[in-house]
């Protein structure tokens, strides 16, 4: 039987960095992946959607480029070609991961892994089985789309993964679920001219965000992208047939050529045979871990979407994977980072990190905010991208920056500066005194920091 110091189960953004980090630390490492290296993120999530969004974004900008003095002529697109490009990007990146694992001496097994006992794993593939011995195991099996029974099984009804395989766009689309995935796909399709209806059972789309961001995003989606957004009611009587998908939301009837189901993802632990190591999942199906990514079973770690309380973000899984690998290799125990910035690739983009205003209010934290609109920023106007704003959330007593949110051009890039500032426990004054290049979008952070104490140079003073 082959022996490894560390066996990582799952080759996604949690698993493969864990494997590489463990190998860097001198461990003999095996990685088991049932489908494709890179996991959901690289193959059916973050990367392919961004490849398509890049095309959609440029298409939309070209169509609206008359305002910038361009004469683009007739602008069109070929979705099949966009898809080919997307696949090429994915192929290139998965190839990169394969190379990296190989270069670090990680042995990769194709198949599913299940525990057969303490320190033993069975790797199975199409009837072919082999058992490996694992000094430590890191579970990084991720999550899968939730598909409740009331949703009909029909080719016109699909999850995000199948949506990405389409080579042709429907003329109309229902997006069931107004969370991060739903809103990203809705914006993508709408920007390419698809008539989109978003149905969200909760009171608003993207309930994780503060109300001002939700308002701005919803306005843009409804007015500029012509997306129909129905919130506060579940979709009932869902029917899928030859002529499309239909249903009822409240009193309104909804109909479209296809439907995307994006009502959440659940931890994937199937076939792991966790009982063989005495592990149980919680009521949500997730694996509870401590701040060092340790599960209740000695020598078994878990990272990413499969863990309880996960943010379901690739970069959070990576941070956990690295911490777990270091802990599994007997480094000085390192806690995984809990300050996780998040990015939403809607139109406009959204970035957020740390404490939101609503969370501060719930937690009884006394905070002040400072906001700055891109409409007042030289670079944003010059670039013709003046929609949106950035916002700091700071403790009233010390001015400590505890949260930040951005909506607008490059918000997902810009949020990283805020993450650095918050993690370094900078104050409003420190950030406000940091010189930012002019003219750039990032200046908005500096101006918003000034705004916390009403000392903004480029905004009229507020009276009363």
């Amino acid at each position: 039987m082959e022996k490894f110091d560390v066996v990582v189960i799952g080759g996604g953004p949690g698993g493969y960095p864990a494997a590489i980090r463990a190998a860097q630390l001198g461990a003999s490492v095996a990685l088991v992946e049932k489908e494709a290296l890179g996991g959901t993120c690289l193959n059916w999530g973050c990367i392919p959607t961004k490849a398509l969004i890049a095309s959609a974004d440029l298409y939309e900008r070209m169509r609206n480029s008359a305002a910038l003095g361009l004469k683009p002529g007739r602008v069109g697109y070929d979705y099949a070609e966009m898809n080919v490009r997307k696949n090429a990007v994915v192929a290139r990146l998965t190839g990169g991961v394969t190379q990296l694992l190989k270069a670090n001496g990680v042995e990769t097994f194709k198949g599913t892994a299940s525990f057969t006992g303490r320190n033993r794993l069975l790797v199975a593939r199409r009837g072919h089985k082999r058992e490996v011995q694992a000094g430590r195991a890191i579970i990084a099996t991720g999550s899968e789309s939730v598909r409740p029974a009331f949703i009909p099984r029909h080719p016109r009804v699909m999850g995000s993964r199948r949506f990405l395989d389409m080579t042709e766009l429907p003329s109309s689309l229902i997006v069931l679920g107004g969370g991060v995935i739903g809103c990203e796909f809705a914006c993508l399709a709408a920007r390419l001219g698809v008539r989109v209806t978003v149905v969200e059972m909760l009171d608003d789309i993207l309930m994780v965000l503060d109300a001002d961001l939700r308002r701005a995003l919803r306005r843009h989606m409804q007015e500029a992208l012509r997306i129909r957004i129905l919130t506060g009611e579940p979709m009932k009587d869902i029917d899928a047939g030859e002529d499309g998908v239909s249903g009822k939301v409240g009193g309104k009837s909804v109909k479209a050529e296809k439907m995307l189901v994006s009502i959440g993802r659940r931890p994937f632990t199937e076939r792991l045979a966790l009982e063989a190591v005495g592990l149980n999942t919680d009521e949500t199906g997730a694996l509870p871990v401590d701040e060092y990514c340790r599960t209740a079973a000695a020598g078994v770690y878990a990272v990413g979407d499969v863990t309880a309380g996960s943010t379901q973000l690739a970069h959070a899984a990576t941070a956990q994977g690295i911490a777990a690998a270091e802990n599994a290799c007997g480094e000085r125990p390192s806690k995984y980072e809990t300050l996780v910035p998040s990015c939403i690739f809607t139109s406009p983009e959204i970035g957020s990190v740390g404490v939101s205003e609503a969370e501060a209010a719930r937690g009884g934290l006394d905070v002040q905010t400072g906001k700055f609109s891109f409409a007042a920023l030289g670079k944003a106007l010059a670039a013709g991208e003046a929609e949106g704003f950035v916002k700091w959330v700071a403790r009233r007593d010390t001015g400590q920056l505890v949260g930040a949110q951005a909506l607008g051009p490059h918000a997902t890039e810009m949020i990283s500066e805020a993450a650095v500032a918050i993690r370094a426990e900078l104050t409003v004054e420190e950030l406000g005194r940091t010189i930012h290049c002019h003219p750039t979008f990032s200046e908005a952070w500096m101006e918003a920091a000034h705004a916390v104490h009403g000392e903004c140079i480029h905004a009229a003073p507020k009276h009363g």
Binding site: R395, T398, Q400, E425, T427, E429, E430
Partner: protein, 471 residues
């Protein structure tokens, strides 16, 4: 004309109280019956309402200040009116006047201050505690001597001799200069002393995040005393917060009272303890039976009643001893300990021996509910003659309680559990509960204590007794 607002009289035994919060600020309009401030005695926090309509002209007693009852704490009058000065009006009514007369007539004419607008004579009293139901309560026995509680005494700050520049440097460095030895005349701390201190403590090797430094400065935490747990030992906000949490804080007045009374009792009263196990099986099924007929009693009700009946048989346990004399109380004024979020109060069921089961139940429920809401009046929490402390809901096997000062015993009631017990030579599962008497050994000897707890036990196990008391 300006009307004087008085600190209300809070019952027989309370001589002073602290204003903990003003709901109105100077210049605010005040309506009749509106809550204008909150008072804290050593037992409770109460709201005081205005008897006048007008504008709050002047606040004389700030938040956190303790003054005798009936002191003038503020003036209410017409907007723009000048309030009388503080000097002439802060005089409390004399203790003799308080004891002799009802509040309405007892406020002496305030001496006229030598100012153009003298205050109106403050009669009737301008504020009353919101729950002013003192009159409706049955006559209470003469109050036992109150426990004088000294106000919290912060350690007097040692005057620090330090040059202004040295102080500035210490402040900018967020350190406490009191720990520095001064080399100037009279031990005055000079800039070079601060610098040497920083050097000796390797101050400049310390790393601290900007927000942590701000927080330390704002909360007066000496950053040389903070252990950094960030990357490379950097001091983070969390580290400073941990230091803040570990600082000594003054106890609440309630905790100070608890500390003072219980320490005195435990160190001056020789306690001894005797425990018995009570079989509650029959009583619990009888209680269920009563419940089905619409009569609802708590287990505590039965325990209280059993104690009341037993105290009649053993008056020595309903007494107080000072080491040379013993005094039997005339009535059973039963204290029942009620746990709060941070503290403990003992409301008193007056003349508990005169109450039937239903009255006892209602009184106990009312007192416990108001205790939890912090709405008890001070008088309702003083003068018990024996106390029951029930921790049955806390899942405990047994515990020993400390006798309340002025009493000679306290009964600690623990959780009822299903246990294997020998009944008529056979094993049975029975619901059993331990009760432990703590008593003052100067008055009660072992035999007597044992007899008392067994008397309580016998009553609780006697279903016929409960049938006769609840029908």
């Amino acid at each position: 004309m300006a009307q004087a607002v008085l600190l209300p009289k809070l019952g027989q035994t309370v001589e002073e109280a602290a204003i903990v919060k003003w709901h109105k600020q100077e210049g605010d309009a005040v309506r009749k019956g509106e809550v204008i401030f909150e008072i804290e005695t050593d037992k409770a926090v109460l709201e005081a309402e205005s008897f006048f309509e007008g504008t709050l002209l002047k606040i004389l007693v700030g938040e956190g200040e303790t003054v005798p009852v009936q002191s003038v704490v503020a003036y209410i009058g017409k907007a723009g009116e000048k309030a009388p000065g503080k000097t002439a009006s802060l005089k409390p009514a004399t203790a003799a006047a308080q004891a002799a007369e009802p509040p309405a007539a007892q406020e002496p004419e305030p001496r006229r201050p030598a100012e153009d607008e003298p205050p109106a004579p403050a009669s009737p009293p301008s504020v009353l505690p919101r729950r002013a139901d003192t009159e409706s309560r049955p006559a209470s026995p003469p109050p036992r001597p109150p426990e004088p509680v000294p106000p919290p005494q912060p350690a007097p700050a040692r005057r620090l001799f330090i040059t202004p520049r040295a102080r500035k440097l210490a402040e900018a460095s967020v350190i406490d200069p009191a720990r520095i030895r001064g080399s100037g005349p009279n031990g005055r701390i000079l800039v070079k002393d601060v610098e040497a201190w920083l050097e000796a403590n390797r101050y400049h090797e310390r790393k601290i995040t900007p927000a942590a430094k701000r927080l330390a400065a704002a909360s007066k935490v000496d950053i040389l005393t903070v252990r950094g747990t960030g990357l490379g030992g950097r001091i983070t906000v969390e580290d400073v917060e941990r230091s803040i949490a570990a600082r000594p804080r003054p106890l609440s007045r309630m905790r100070q009272t608890i500390a003072q009374r219980l320490t005195r009792s435990f160190t001056t009263t020789p306690h001894f303890y005797v425990t018995v196990t009570v079989d509650m099986t029959d009583l619990l099924s009888y209680r269920q039976e009563l419940k089905e007929t619409g009569q609802s009693f708590t287990v505590t009700d039965f325990i209280l009643e059993a104690v009341i009946l037993s105290l009649r048989e053993f008056p020595a346990l309903n007494s107080v001893c000072d080491g040379s004399t013993i005094r039997w109380y005339e009535s059973v004024d039963l204290g029942m300990a009620v746990g709060l979020d941070d503290g403990l109060v003992v409301p008193v069921i007056r003349n508990a021996g005169d109450l039937c089961m239903v009255e006892l139940h209602d009184t106990a429920q009312d007192l416990a509910a108001r205790a939890r809401e912090g709405k008890l009046l001070p008088d309702e929490m003083t003068g018990s003659s024996f106390t029951v402390s029930n921790m049955g809901m806390c899942d405990v096997d047994n515990f020993h309680a400390i006798i309340n000062p002025g009493e000679s015993g306290i009964l600690a009631v623990s959780s009822t559990r299903d246990e294997v017990a020998a009944v008529d030579g056979r094993m049975q599962i029975r619901a059993r509960m331990k009760i432990t008497l703590s008593c003052d050994h100067r008055i009660v000897d072992g035999t007597r204590g044992a007899m008392f707890v067994n008397a309580v036990k016998a009553k609780l196990e006697d279903t016929e007794l409960w049938r006769s008391l609840t029908l």
